[in-house]
């Protein structure tokens, strides 16, 4: 690790941890013992959520996404409220706050009321382990990779609660779809991240950034398969558009959100963006080198580099959302189990062998670049072989669910003699 030029003065904006420390030390003198822990948690919440996530949600998530998708689809996007439509997200939020939140009479009121709250909490917890700078990480636990996976499995439960408690056919369809999809895509996602952990030899996010800074490289160049698997898996888990079958409005109204209105719906909508931001921040940390930028982090504030990388990854989300059509549920399921899972397993095997070669022969760090080249060639090879030689091809998948096949397939309505349905 390079020696940091960053000083310990509180006005050194390259490391906001200084300011944080000074505030906490000052408060510790004034306040009674123990209260400073509460202040720490509050300051962490303000720093991560109020200062970073909420404005990003409104301006990158809602406004930027709508404008960019508008540009990509050759239309204007929101441009009426304020200059360039910049006040549009605030107007939307105010409108949502005023709307009535309806609850159907036959719904399970308690669970329907709890579900949005349970959906919000993990979105804030996710940012606790993301390193924004060399010392700017709220909870630097040694298993932060697993912490991320554990926290990101919680919103699925909240979505299921939302869909089930609404007591509506389409809500339940959406809930079942999101549960099935999150189970299917969690497996390749974990395998992809496991190969990253195997190569870097650490499960701490800060450790991964320092590993990438030391080589120096970016993990996306070394392990393109892991990145592709992560990107596809996470966009399915987050219900982003190429895979948003859980709220596919052309099939099942709005999925698990059908019965939600007003700010309760707004919480789900806003927190979806917060989860996408969390996943982008995680990808920026693990695959794009986090706050490091090949030595430039000595002069540019590391947190600024990190936030820009997060937005760069979020742009990928917007891009896929604007260009790709929605997939069917059977296509998504078979893609996960028959394509992503074997590819991720192969990748894990390759990476484990490489790690063994690297550590047992005491090779220099530059060998990682050679691994990267080999991996890129192998990625093309594996994807080509799996799709062409083993004939994994979506056209060969059954287009009808099995139950339909067993009942004799679709039958046209008997039109009778006169040609009209009787």
């Amino acid at each position: 690790m390079f020696p940091l030029l960053v000083t310990d003065h509180w006005y050194d904006l390259r490391d906001l941890a200084n300011l944080y420390r000074v505030i906490l030390e000052g408060l510790d003198h004034i306040l009674p013992t123990g209260l400073v822990y509460v202040i720490t948690a509050l300051l962490g919440f303000i720093a991560f959520f109020v200062i970073f996530v909420l404005p990003s949600q409104l301006y990158v998530g809602v406004y930027g996404e709508r404008r960019l998708i508008g540009r990509m689809q050759a239309r204007q996007g929101p441009n009426r409220v304020g200059p360039l439509g910049l006040l549009q997200p605030i107007a939307d939020a105010l409108k949502l706050l005023q709307k009535e939140a309806l609850t159907p009479r036959s719904a399970d009121r308690t669970i329907m009321w709890i579900a949005p709250i349970l959906f919000v909490a993990p979105a804030i917890l996710i940012f606790a382990v993301i390193p924004f700078g060399p010392r700017m990480v709220f909870a630097d636990i040694p298993v932060s990779l697993m912490y991320f996976l554990a926290i990101s499995s919680l919103p699925v439960i909240a979505s299921f609660m939302a869909g089930w408690s609404s007591n509506n056919k389409y809500s339940l369809f959406g809930a079942m779809r999101i549960v099935a999809m999150s189970i299917s895509y969690e497996v390749p996602l974990v395998l992809g991240l496991l190969s990253v952990a195997v190569l870097s030899g650490t499960m701490s996010l800060q450790g991964m950034v320092i590993w990438q800074q030391d080589i120096p490289t970016w993990m996306i160049l070394i392990q393109p398969i892991a990145f592709a698997v992560y990107f596809i898996g996470v966009s399915a888990e987050l219900n982003r558009t190429p895979a948003d079958i859980a709220e596919a409005e052309s099939e099942i109204v709005a999925g698990y959100l059908t019965e939600y209105s007003g700010m309760r719906w707004g919480l789900f909508y806003g927190m979806d963006i917060a989860y996408a931001l969390g996943a982008s921040a995680f990808a920026a940390t693990v695959f794009f080198g986090g706050w490091s930028l090949f030595g430039l982090e000595q002069w540019i504030p590391p947190w600024l580099i990190f936030i820009l990388k997060t937005y760069l990854f979020y742009f990928l989300f917007i891009w896929t959302r604007a260009t790709l059509p929605r997939l069917r549920i059977d296509q998504l399921m078979s893609f996960s189990w028959k394509f992503l899972l074997p590819v991720a397993l192969f990748n894990l095997l390759i990476v484990a062998v490489e790690r063994l070669i690297w550590t047992s022969n005491d090779l220099p760090d530059a060998i990682v670049w050679a691994f990267g080249g080999v991996n890129i060639i192998l990625m093309v090879g594996i994807v080509f072989v799996w799709s062409k030689v083993f004939k994994y091809d979506p056209k060969n998948r059954p287009t009808k669910p099995r139950l339909v096949n067993e009942s004799g397939g679709y039958r046209p309505v008997d039109l009778g003699e006169g040609g009209s349905a009787s």
Binding site: M146, L149, F160, W164, M176, I183
Partner: protein, 170 residues
């Protein structure tokens, strides 16, 4: 970990876990029972954090909350009339008897165990756990994976339709 905050966290987690465990037993609606069960799992993972076993806590959340309870939810939703028909049966008496016996055995084990206290703090990091799983405890570890594979193959065999099996013989 010791200190005032840890004691408070312990009692809060205990109350939460035990109350939700009571909720699992008391609720008639199976979905509510599973949701209570999820809270129990989260409480147990909180205990692991208090014991400085970070890895185990995270594994508990990923496996129990993220996978197992979701599978239980699946099973309940796919079972016809699972929400209704949960009336009283005569099996309630043996169940209570069995539960009390199990609790007695566990309390006896707790009472009888020789709780030795060491001065050195044991290392529970993921690296130590991984290397001991693949060196000292490699046989149970492999046996568990064989068991899981057998369960996987068995479940695939169970859901195969007769037409699939005709295709096998050909």
């Amino acid at each position: 970990m010791t200190g005032f905050g840890v004691s408070v966290a312990f009692w809060v987690l205990s109350v939460l876990t035990l109350a939700s465990a009571g909720g699992v037993m008391a609720s008639r609606n199976l979905i509510h029972a599973v949701l209570f069960l999820i809270v129990v799992f989260l409480g147990v993972s909180g205990f692991f954090v208090l014991l400085s076993a970070d890895f185990l806590a995270m594994a508990q959340v990923i496996i129990y909350v993220g996978a197992i309870s979701v599978l239980i939810l699946f099973a309940i939703v796919l079972t016809p009339r699972a929400e209704r028909d949960n009336s009283e049966t005569v099996m309630v008496l043996p169940a209570i008897f069995l539960g009390i016996s199990l609790m007695a055995i566990m309390l006896f084990v707790l009472y009888d165990a020789n709780w030795s206290v060491t001065a050195t703090e044991p290392s529970l990091s993921a690296a130590v756990l991984g290397s001991s799983l693949l060196s000292v405890w490699v046989l149970p570890f492999e046996l568990a994976s064989v068991l899981l594979t057998a369960a996987l193959v068995g479940s695939i065999m169970l859901v195969r339709s007769p037409s699939d099996e005709e295709g096998d013989l050909a």
